[in-house]
Symmetry: C2
Subunit: 357 residues, 2 copies
Amino acid sequence: MSSGSRLDGAVLVVGTGLLGTSIALALRRAGVEVLLDDVDGDNLRVAIDRGAGTRLQPSDTPDVVVVACPPRHASQVLADVSQRFPRATLTDVTSIKAPVLAQAIERGADPQRLVGGHPMAGREVSGPAGARADLFDDRLWILTPAQATSDHVMQVHRLVSTCGGYAVEMTATEHDLAVALVSHAPQVVSSALAAQLVDADTTHVRIAGQGLRDMTRIAASHAPMWNDILAVNGGPVADILDKLAQELQATAVALRAGQQAEIAALLTSGAEGQARIPGKHGAAAERYSEVTVQLADRSGELARMFVAASDADVNVEDVRIEHVLGRPSGLVSLFVSPDTGTTLADALRARDFDVRS
Amino acid sequence: MSSGSRLDGAVLVVGTGLLGTSIALALRRAGVEVLLDDVDGDNLRVAIDRGAGTRLQPSDTPDVVVVACPPRHASQVLADVSQRFPRATLTDVTSIKAPVLAQAIERGADPQRLVGGHPMAGREVSGPAGARADLFDDRLWILTPAQATSDHVMQVHRLVSTCGGYAVEMTATEHDLAVALVSHAPQVVSSALAAQLVDADTTHVRIAGQGLRDMTRIAASHAPMWNDILAVNGGPVADILDKLAQELQATAVALRAGQQAEIAALLTSGAEGQARIPGKHGAAAERYSEVTVQLADRSGELARMFVAASDADVNVEDVRIEHVLGRPSGLVSLFVSPDTGTTLADALRARDFDVRS
């Protein structure tokens, strides 16, 4: 879908938080001229100091404007830059598309130049200090072109590929339904499940294992941000919550009636749905090979293992130490790129490690 | 609660799967005489080969019998051993207590000698080959004594502390409500959430991030085992599912009506409930110190770091490499016992590592 060709003209990034500054750094990495603007002067200075681009000047005429402001400001800023730069291609990075884009057009943004965008990347940190030029490498970047002309759509495709991402087009409505399903509704479910623990006996909560811990992890997320997101995408999220509520109620009825076949069907569907989700270390990480080693219970064995990997010139991308309900065991998994998996296993065996896979 | 004193007489373990063999190994570690029995001759031989004990002989008279059979057989086996060993203390390890113990008594088990047990430990592997003597070290082990006399209750406390665990008493009903809350209902929720993905568009599923991945991980669990568990603990699980369904429906109504205060309240309760769950690396692991290092992007840095830890005689219990949506970043966390956290940080700084905490 991406053109593969690179951007020529200048790109203006409005908003120098994590995403905006990361886009700017990714573009600078590719040699693109980047102009920066932000109402937050501190963020702007940090971004400029990091080499993300130069401060926007009144005479500048960017070819592309990327609006990377918080969702509640994005529509107005899109309308503003549309009027200020009457020929520029316009895009944004907000995580909800249909209402933001509709409001932008209502407020005067040119629909023929507006291509909604949502890069599927982020970090748990925020602000320009956490930005990275490689944040979008191999990441999905959803585009919702609507009424934009093909020239402007192509410009945004170039922007995405220059940033290292790959673009997938869908309608804004389709996008909002998709994120409701895979992100917003799960957030509500996690919060609702965790909320059940508020009044629970301490001894009962203490029994909690890894399953509950995983399922409630995102319930600790930043509440105000989620409140904003859920407010804007309320309809699609509500539809999914209704379906889930029905499913849970039907399951409760089946449990009380001892209808094991219905329970089995739900468990089977769950396993089937779970299997559709891309690799456990993220979409890009399905390309890792896993080498599992049973370490002897002697001090220095981890160090010896990493030295062996390093001596074999193998780059370890991730490490997992198997934990038996909270305590480490001797089983360690190393994740490496597939072309080095065999090299690593051989190198470890050569130094008498007990390689299991 | 535990007496601290050790077991004297012989313990019979019936069922040499993961839990039974681990109990046997833990008892042998403490020098206790262990007798083994299993209808599965292969498992029994593996357990004996691993030094878990000796095969039960007709003349043996164990002081304590631990029934570590699958839940569907446990009641009958408890009744059988109660009759065969009319003075032995009886306990089990099944994960649902009230129905199993009631059935055992119905079938003839002596209620005065029967103390239900549920060690909160397990592994993702099964069978005697995966058993470990230290599986229960520092683990919670729930006891549901009911009508047992204090002598027999005390014997089971000794069993638990000899195995390295710590006993907490509650009623069987309370136990079943607690595991419904922290384990069984979350399993159903995970399955129901994952089941929503079965008919979803592939592009939509591809957008899934770590949040959905975490929340649906246990949906991949062994369905037949869960079907058994849910069938036996249906009532308590159904009650929690009903409450959750009501919460989700109320949230859907609030989302459609734009009632942000209600959404905010749910998100806040969720964060509050989540905070009650013991430490992220498991209950015992709250005792870890975390040392975070920003590694330079040079090959061999991981190895150099582990060598520094090893040279400082610090035992690394766990490693986390920060991943930005599937790709490794330079931020690595090392988890060590608190008395070595400062030593490790100093040792790393002395070798010019960028220690962040």
